[in-house]
Every structure is written in C-alpha cells, then in structure tokens.
C-alpha cells in the first residue's frame, strides 16, 4: 500500500510539473503551429501521463489523455492543422486533466470528479474530422507482430512501441556506424558538426535520446505511410526486406539535415534540464532556517559583548584577535543565512507560467488582442511569498486586460497598434524584488478617478481637490471602487484591487502606481525577499520594548503632551491639516505606568491600506533587522502580537501586528491622565519603621554609615552596587524613606542609579544622598542634575551624616537621642 502511495506521489509531482510547462507550450504552439519540437514535447506530456495513469488504474484520466494523445499525434504528423478551435479543445482537455489530477491528489481516485465525456467527444470529433482526408487504415501492416491490425504507432501497446524503438535505434546505430566508416574511409573529417554530434548514442543525454527517438519515430511513421501508399500501388506485395532495403539509402541521405538542426537545439536543452537537484521537504528547510535564526541572534549577541569588552579593555592586545574572530563569525553567519534563504527560493516563473494561458483566454473572451511579454521569470523569491503572490497578480493582470487595453478598433483610431501589450517584469532591488505590470492601454485619468470616488462617497470634494495625481491613482485600491463602466465577466465582480492591496501588504510589500492617459499604466509591487526577517522600528513604552514592522510605519513625529487634543474622549493630533487619531501603546497593551511621561513623546504613524493612526510611544529606540519567531501554539494569536524576536542582548521583544493593533485602537479609550501616586505612606510610629537604603561597594564604608546611623534607630538595608539597589527598590517589598548612595561602584554607578530611580513616579520624592569622596564642583553639579537631594563628601563626621539623614526623613533627632 505504501509503495503504491509513494509511486502515486511521484506521479502527481511529475504530472503537475509537466502540466505547468504544458500550458505555456500550448500557448506558444498557437503562435507557431509548425514548431515540431514543441508539438513533440506536448505530445510527450500527454503520452507520459497516459502511460502512468493506466499503470495506476486511473481509467478516466487514461481515457482522456488517450484521446488527447491521438489528436496531438495527428497534429504532429501534420495531418491536422492547429487552429484556434482545435486549441480550445486541447486546452479544455488540459484543464480537465488538471481537474482530475487535483481530484486524485485529494481523494486518491479519479472517479466522479470531472465529467470528461463531452471533452472526449470533442476530441473525437476533431480526430474524425481530420481522418476523412486520410486513407482508411484498416489494412494489415507488414509488421513482425501480426497480432493486431494497426492504424499507427500511437495505438501500439507499450511493449510494441518499445520493441519498435529498440529496432529503430539498432538500425540507426548501424547506419551511424556505416556512415562513420564511410566517412572515415573518405576522409578524416573531425570538423564536421555531425561527427561530434552523432559519435555515439550512448553518450547522449536522456533528453537527446528521447528527441532522437521521437525524430526516428516520426520518420518511421512517415515511411510507414509512404510504404502503405506504395504498397497499395503495388497491390499488397508484403515483403519485409523490401521496405528495409528501401529505408536504408533513404535514411542515410536524410538524417544529415535534421542532425544539423539538432546540434543547435541540444545545448539549449541541456542548460535547462541537466541541473542536478534533490527534493527536500520544506519542513527541513524551515528547521534549518530556524537554526540559522538562532545563529544570527548569537552573532548579534557576540557583537554586543564585543562592544562592551572593547570599551572596558581599550588598547589591549587580545581585542584585536577577538575583533577578527567576531567579524569572521559574523561574516560567515550572514553568508550562511543568505545561502539557506536561497534554498527556500523559487523562481517567480512558477507563478508567471500560468499567465500566458490566462491572457490568451481573456483576450478571446474580451475580443481584444493582447500580447503578454514576460521577463525576469528567473528572479527568485521565498517559497512562501511565491505562493501568496499569485492571486494578487491574477487580479492585476485581469484588470490590465479588462480596463487597461482597449479594443483593437479603438486602438487603431488612437494610432496605436491593434495588438495591446501587457508586460510582466520581475527584478531584484536590494533586499526587495520588484514586480512590474505595464500595459500600453488607455491609462488612468486622475480627474475621473477623483470624480468617481466623490460620487461614491469614498472621499470628500475637499479631499479630492487636495489630492495629488499619485494619490488619485491609489484610489483604485479603495474598497468599493470599480472603474469599469459596465460589469464584465472578467472584473467588476466585487473582489477588487483592495484585496490585491491588502494581500501585498500582508507580505510587507508596497504598491506604487504610475500612469499617463492614453499611454498606459505601470503598477509596481515591491516585496521583501523573505518573510522570516523583517526591518522593524523598535520603540519603548515604559520599561517594555516593541518592534513595529517598518513596512507599516509611515512616519514618526515628536510631540509635546499639550499637542494632544481631545475630541469626544479620544486623543487626536493635528498634523499638517490632517486630524490623526492617537492611541497610546501603553493603553493597548495595558503596560504598567511606572515612569511618568517625559517632556516629549513620540508618535509613530502606522498605516495599512487607507487607514492610519498615530501610536504614542515613550521613545524610539532605532531601526533593526529582526528574525521573526513564532510564539508557539500556547500563545498563538494574542491580540495585537504577530510574533517575537530575540534581540542582541538575548531578551525577547514582541513584534506588533499592525492590522490587529488598528482594530484594537477603535475600542480603546485614552487614559492619558497622569497617574498620581496614590500610595499613602504607612504611619510611622517608631524610628525603626523608617527604612534607609545604604548603597556602597566597600564593606568598610557601609559599616561606617551603619554605625553613624545607629543612634537614630532606623532600619538599614545594604546594597553593594547600583543594580542591586535598583532591584531592591523596584521589587517593592520595602519602601525606602531615603537612600545613601556612593558614586563609584561597579555595574552601575551612583549617578546612573539616581537617574534610574528618578524615572519612577513613586520614587520622585525619595531623598537620595550622595556620599562620596569626589569633591569637585562638576561632580556636585552632576549630582544635582541626576536628582541627588544632598551631597556629602568623605570624610564626614558621624553626627553630620546622622543629621542630614534625619532632616531628610523628617525624624526628630532630639526625640531619640
């Protein structure tokens, strides 16, 4: 059973790949119906699928492909000319074939999915229609196997064809040898192209052999027919040796011509197909990508540590070596990241491939003449993006064909060629891929667009007046906007360009549009190469950091609190004639307000499609490239969070989901009022209720201070450095009434500590007393700046220290002493 499943999967993969190519080939064939190579290729697809499906017992599929094969075979032999009508039927059967394959993929069976009967009938009709010109082929063949009466090769059983091929190959090799010998005898002719090409069949690649077989088969069929005619004339003189003998001189003369053609075709084919590939499960690549992501984070961390070390050990010898290691690690990591990213890349041609067929169908449906010119199909994109980009492109191209390109009559009147052109281009630009869809149609009329939009109530007249041309073009992406004068089958069915836009934005992409009336329209999609790594703007709110995808950030502005106005209980900001609704990120995410708002706040203006809002944050940290990590099943889909990333310091930073954030913003009422410190200090009944924090790295100094304060009877807590002290205060298990702070300490010095403490609302009023041997004026100044209340210089008398502390905590000294 498993074995069967495996074969089936292989079959499906192969079949879908072939069909993709088939569509393109068929379209090309319509343009050059005489191209035998092309026909052969198409025939082969039908043939292969027929063979495999009959082996796998897919009767319906076999039935259909069998008929397709017959028709194609006929065309291949030149007995049927490829007219658009024939193409329609062939394309229809290709579609049916796709349908069947899809059904097989889903259910494992081809029954009951697609009704192939009408298509088969049409195929038969073509087949019979063509056959009338052909002589009835009911006569016995002079074949070694007399079991069956044979019409042509396509009806031979697999084995017979195989045998026939063998025979022909042997014969061909024989001829080759003869010819070579003859040639050698005549002259050593190494410079002749046939020589190298035909040296040895066993040295040919599979494709070449295949092509050769096809050619021989065709030739053989040709001969068969001639033979049949000859036979008829000679009244059934069935002599097996006769045709053989006749064949030999004929073929020795003939192959020289096609052989030359083949030398040209062969190298081209080799380039496209002889690539060495292996199939890898996408999940494995994803795992690999995750690992690389971790490596990137590790590298970032290493860089950060290096910076720290560099500061501390400036000028040391080992720094240089460390620097070398760090930079080589970071270089290799980046290369590795790119390499793995590339393994996930697919050429965008995968998507582009289906468009020739689509445009062909559209132009027939719309009675227009449209040429689709594709370039840059080899440009590569991440697999996940390739999968997502298809639908938006379908919409855009449909739109270009339907609204852009005019009817042939109209075009001629305008002095343009009757045949319109739609160009589809892809190319790289930095970390982005650009996809351009250019048509030479009637272009967009900015004024008309504005008028329409006003009519439909999408924008006000005033807005319309102020709109630039580019902004007007963007109107077509508004929901509910359709420029089609009449609703056609192709577009104007409600699913419009707004869907395109939101799809592109989901990929963190950007759309630009450019147009000139009468000349045409250019749509430009700018899409990041991968979804796993994005550019982000890091912002901070209170003590928390968040990353906002840069693609959604329109601009940032710095404001003062009084610029924020209130309308109906909502905060708004007036920005260049525009009123922007504001929401504080802290309100959205219920961030604890420990810091009071500074003099300035920053507004990050984020936008998706037409809506935009201002997000108030405390500060902008900077722009950073972040690796997106999932939050896992347990936390999946938290409102407003798209994922997480690990920063250089190893901390996790959450990435906001801009779309969800905007929805959340609608329901959040601003609470901009400053939180007043509501804590009421507990009543102090005895000196022991007073808590004093002593921060000094020297044990002796701490002991001296403790001794000096002993007479007061207050409770003393010690900390050996700034970080420890800050944590003690933040933790809040004790409320400190004052702190004695040394300036020079490891990890965090006294100035920084004071500044940090003062950031907290509830510590605004706590007396901070600097106790230090730094006596210069500038040191004192700095102390005041960061928020020290008093400045005591060492050495000091114990009484002095005691008095200063007592004064600052309002403790009556006499009372206790």
């Amino acid at each position: 059973m498993d074995e069967f499943q495996e074969i089936l999967e292989d079959f499906l993969v192969e079949a879908f790949e072939m069909i993709e190519q088939l569509d393109n080939d068929l379209i090309e064939l319509e343009n050059s119906p005489e191209d035998l190579d092309l026909l052969n290729r198409i025939f082969r697809v039908a043939h292969t699928i027929k063979g495999s499906s009959s082996f796998l017992n897919f009767d319906v599929l076999t039935h259909l492909t069998h008929h397709m094969e017959d028709v194609l075979n006929k065309a291949r032999r030149g007995e049927l000319s490829i007219t658009p009508d024939v193409m329609d039927v062939v394309l229809e059967s290709t579609d049916k074939m796709k349908g069947l394959l899809e059904h097989i993929k889903e259910t494992g069976s081809d029954e009951g999915a697609v009704d192939v009967a009408p298509t088969v009938r049409r195929l038969e009709a073509i087949l019979n229609g063509g056959e009338t010109q052909e002589p009835p082929a009911a006569e016995p063949e002079p074949e070694p196997e007399p079991v069956e009466e044979e019409k042509d090769l396509s009806e031979m059983s697999e084995e017979e064809v195989e045998a026939e091929i063998e025979r022909l190959l042997a014969q061909r090799q024989e001829e080759d040898r003869k010819r070579r010998e003859a040639k050698r005898a005549a002259e050593a002719a190494g410079e002749k192209p046939e020589e190298s090409e035909e040296k040895d069949l066993s040295e040919m690649s599979e494709e070449e052999v295949e092509a050769e077989i096809e050619r021989l088969l065709a030739q053989r069929q040709e001969e068969d027919r001639k033979r049949r005619e000859a036979k008829r004339a000679a009244q059934k003189e069935a002599q097996k040796s006769a045709p053989e003998a006749k064949e030999a001189p004929q073929s020795s003369a003939k192959p020289a011509a096609p052989a030359k053609k083949e030398t040209k075709a062969a190298p081209k084919e080799r380039k496209t197909t002889v690539e060495q590939t292996i199939r890898v499960d996408v999940k494995r690549l994803d795992d690999l990508m995750n690992l690389i992501g971790e490596l990137v984070l590790g590298k970032n961390r290493l860089l950060k540590i290096y910076d720290d070390v560099e500061e501390r050990y400036e000028g040391e010898q080992f720094l240089e070596e460390l620097n070398q290691v760090v930079s080589s690690v970071s270089l290799v990591t980046t290369d590795l990241q790119i390499a793995v990213m590339k393994t996930r890349m697919l050429p965008i041609g995968k998507v582009f491939n289906k468009f020739p067929r689509m445009v062909r169908d559209l132009s027939r449906e719309l009675h227009k003449e449209i040429d689709l010119v594709i370039s840059g199909e080899e440009t590569e994109l991440d697999k996940s993006i390739v999968e997502e980009i298809g639908d938006p492109l379908v919409h855009i191209i449909r739109n270009s064909c339907d609204h852009g390109i005019e009817l042939p009559q109209e075009r001629i009147e305008k002095g343009k060629p009757a045949k319109g052109t739609v160009q589809l281009k892809a190319y790289n630009e930095g970390n982005h891929i650009i996809i351009e869809i250019v048509d030479d149609g009637k272009g967009l009329d900015a004024d008309m667009l504005k008028m329409k939009a006003v009519e439909k109530g999408l924008i006000s007249e005033k807005e319309a007046d102020q709109m630039s041309e580019k902004e007007a073009f963007m109107l077509i992406f508004k929901p509910g906007f359709s420029t089609a004068a009449q609703v056609t089958n192709v577009s104007g069915r409600g699913v419009g360009m707004d869907v395109v836009r939101s799809n592109i934005e989901k990929l963190n992409g950007i759309i630009e549009i450019d147009s000139e009336v009468g000349k045409g329209t250019t749509l430009k999609l700018k899409i990041p190469l991968t979804l796993a790594i994005i550019q982000s703007l890091l912002v901070s709110v209170q003590e928390e950091f968040y990353a906002i995808p840069l693609a959604s950030v329109l601009e940032t502005v710095r404001i003062t609190p009084d610029e924020i106005q209130s309308v109906e209980g909502r905060s708004v900001l007036r920005l260049r004639d525009e009123v922007l609704s504001l929401v504080h990120l802290a309100d959205l995410f219920d961030v604890e307000r420990v810091f009071s708002m500074g003099e300035h706040a920053y507004v990050v203006i984020i936008g998706i499609a037409e809506t935009k809002i201002g997000l108030i944050v405390d500060s902008l940290v900077g722009q950073e490239e972040v690796v997106i990590k999932s939050l896992g099943e347990y936390l999946k889909g938290i409102e407003g969070i798209a994922g997480a990333t690990i920063r250089g310091d190893g901390r996790v930073t959450l990435i906001v989901d801009v779309g969800a954030l905007m929805d959340m913003a609608k329901n959040v009422k601003s609470s901009m009022q400053n939180l007043e410190d509501t804590q009421t200090a507990a009543e102090k009944s005895s000196p022991a209720d007073y808590n004093i924090l002593v921060v000094d790295d020297s044990k002796t100094d701490r002991a001296i201070m403790r001794k000096a304060l002993e007479p007061l009877g207050v409770t003393i807590t010690e900390a050996t450095n700034g970080v420890e002290a800050l944590n003690l205060m933040k933790e809040g298990s004790k409320t400190f009434d004052a702190a004695l702070v040394d300036i020079e300490m490891p990890r965090m010095d006294g100035y920084t500590l004071a500044a940090e403490i003062r950031k907290f609302n509830k510590f605004k009023m706590v007396p901070l007393i600097a106790v230090t041997s730094r006596t210069s004026r500038s040191d004192r100044m700095r102390g005041v700046e960061v928020g020290m209340t008093e400045y005591i210089t060492k050495p000091y008398t114990p009484e002095y220290l005691m008095n200063v502390v007592a004064r600052n905590i309002n403790l009556n000294v006499e009372q206790t002493v």
Partner: protein
C-alpha cells in the same frame, strides 16, 4: 505483496510489545516540587529541563498567570506562574525558584515553581485517580500518588500545556 509486508510488520510490532506486557509492574519516575505549601509532581519524561530564573518579557492581553515569554537558547517559550494558575498569590522570586520547562508532543512551556523537592519512583498501582470531590474542572490533576507518609498530586501535563484563554 504489500499485504505480506504488513503482516511482517505486525509480527515485528507484536514481538516488540510482548516483553513490555510481561513486565511485573510499571514504575513511574516523577519529579516533585513545591507550589505554595503543596507538593506536586510531573513525570520525569515530560520535563525538558529545569533552569534558574532568567529574564522574561511580559505579553499583553494574556491572563495574569502567563507571565510572558522567555528565550531558551533561541526558542521563545511562554512562562506560566503555577502559583497564580492554582489561585495563589504571585510567587516571589528567591534562590529556590526554578523554571521547569515541560514538553508534551510539540508543546513546550516554562512553569515557575517555588522549590524542587526530589525525584521519586512510584509504582503505577500506587497512583489513585484524583478524587472527584476535587472539583478539578480542567482535569489538571492526573492522579494522587501515595508514598510512605505523604500524598503527591501528579499533574496532567497535557492539561497544563492546554491553552485555556
């Protein structure tokens, strides 16, 4: 042919299973820990690792017992405070506090516990189902293990890792 193959596979599986069934009694290895004043345990095989507290990032819009997410060698894992999950006050971090990283199938999360106690082996027969009177709606208790002097509540790892918000 595939039928034959299947039969062979079946036979092999049976052979593999046989000795296990023959075992006299199954023993479960548990890791015990304190949350509040009560001792709990989880099967040792469900524990990926136990680490000392590290910095975590708060996640908004989650229940209070979800403290946030933390970085375990490049993976972002949720951190859940078991005290709060069990309706106690939030735990104060001290030197006994540990993050227990528990895995069930693909699900991984860190749980804050107050203190590790010991690893024990307990016979499966010594585990009783959780008393129905417990009112354990979320099915969080897998059973109660009896040891010489005390009872240990064995937690249902799957329920612990099930998202309930």
């Amino acid at each position: 042919m595939s039928n034959q193959l299947e039969e062979v596979m079946k036979k092999q599986q049976q052979q593999q299973r046989a000795p296990q069934e023959g075992e006299i009694e199954k023993v479960v290895q548990l890791v015990g820990f304190m949350v509040g004043d009560e001792e709990f345990a989880v099967p040792i095989l469900s524990i990926q690792e136990i680490i000392k507290p590290i910095e975590y990032t708060r996640t908004p819009k989650t229940p209070p017992y979800v403290l946030g997410v933390f970085n375990l060698r490049g993976s972002v894992l949720p951190l859940i405070d078991l005290r709060m999950k069990f309706g106690l006050s939030r735990s104060k971090e001290n030197e006994d506090t540990r993050y227990m990283v528990i895995r069930h199938n693909e699900e991984v999360a860190g749980f804050v516990i107050d203190r590790l106690t010991q690893a024990t082996r307990i016979k499966e027969s010594a585990i009783d189902p959780a008393p129905e009177t417990l009112g354990d709606e979320q099915n969080m208790i897998y059973g109660v293990g009896k040891q010489e002097e005390k009872l240990i509540s064995i937690l249902n790892v799957e329920a612990l890792l099930r998202r309930d918000f």
